[in-house]
Symmetry: C2
Subunit: 243 residues, 2 copies
């Protein structure tokens, strides 16, 4: 990696910038308490994420399902889970709960780290989450992005290579002038295959205790950081300003 | 118009947020001085804008030309103008001058007005300018957008209705929940036909002395404002907060 050539940092969001699991569990607990439900919200959150998001996107990318954005994928799985658990919500209540994914809370270092990184780089999302979700989240959480890019624009989900290449092109850059920042090995391997530089940020808490080990062993990423502030410090010595 | 229903403001950019004409002329004058050229930069700027942007987009929308983004359209016209005027630049110099459109300066009220409007609304670009251009401009000029949307995403240029409808959909909103803010009658009429609310902001200086009269008479827009601060004041009394 030729670090001074990096002009834009593209951020995975769910699990890298925001703590999806803690946020979904917290809102689930509050909802269950208000409704008098007895629900295992850790399992609920994990299944919503794994079955409603990760497994669904594979089907969309394979052409088994038509294009649906992440709000639609989340809502479909939410309705399934509520039915399976025999829990009843009005359409407006379900829609509000589905939008918990617009209200995810950032990790403690995310805001400050992004501000540091903004000084030297164009900082953008590159999430599978849809534009509305990312825009509402950023506004609510005070995350300052230079640009919000989403798989929705390209109608393919990461780790399809067209998403990474398309994002670089839309920023007027070569893939090698951009770097994906993510906490997931599969996302970073997709970016690397598309020609982007890669930075792994450890977020071991995102799947709770006993989650998958990240990064997978022998992963050839360019930078390894413990959080965004640490990433800014590591990149700073090598970087040239863009403006 | 039911103003409390408006959740997002979509901004035209060239001539509405930034003063393209003054910015292009200023950089042209500096370039011409460095090169020892004698060029009428007012005419140069107007022709670059009118022939390289406005007339070219009509050809793209009509299918006469393949999709080209605004950086490409600008560069094509720049090369034509330089050849016509027998002016010589290296490729790197021409590329740098072409990027003057990334360096346009905001009108005096733009930054402050956007900050006021951000408190109540999602504020987004909806420009024919490409994403890279809008991102670089915002970062350089300190314009804080919640989201950067561009005709480039939809591969059609305004005033094609698909651009306005697509932007609303990408924000998870109905067209009637969004408002286009622009200084050009044709843009606002396109938005209105697509179901958006409309706000005209007067920028009489954008074509220099003797430019077209805006708004055209008998235009049925929802709000008329003299600048963005005035727009914020006019909308404030009627609005409900989004968050």
């Amino acid at each position: 990696m030729n670090t001074p050539r990096i002009k834009a940092l593209l951020f995975d969001v769910f699990g890298t910038v925001v703590d999806w699991r803690a946020s979904v569990i917290a809102e689930g607990v509050a909802l269950g308490s208000a409704k008098g439900w007895c629900v295992d919200w850790e399992t609920f959150a994990d299944r919503w994420r794994l079955e409603g998001y990760i497994q669904s996107m594979v089907k969309v990318n394979a052409g088994e399902w038509p294009w649906m954005n992440v709000d639609q994928l989340h809502r479909q799985k939410l309705d399934d889970l509520l039915a399976e658990l025999k829990l009843s919500l009005s359409d407006a209540e379900a829609e509000h709960f589905n939008q918990v994914w617009h209200r995810l809370l950032p990790f403690a270092d995310s805001r400050a780290g992004l501000e540091m990184l903004r000084e030297r780089y164009v900082v953008c999302t590159l999430s599978n989450g849809n534009i509305a979700l990312l825009t509402n989240m950023a506004k609510r959480a005070g995350l300052r992005w230079d640009c919000i890019l989403s798989a929705e624009i390209f109608r393919k989900y990461k780790p399809d290579g067209s998403v990474y290449r398309g994002a670089a092109e839309m920023l007027g850059l070569k893939p090698s002038e951009t770097m994906l920042v993510a906490s997931h090995t599969s996302d970073l391997l997709g970016a690397r295959a598309a020609g982007l530089a890669t930075a792994f940020v450890g977020r071991p808490q995102q799947w709770g205790v006993g989650g998958p080990l990240e990064p997978r062993p022998d992963t050839p990423f360019d930078v390894y950081a413990t959080d965004f502030v640490n990433l800014a410090t590591k990149l700073e010595a090598m970087a040239e300003p863009l403006f």
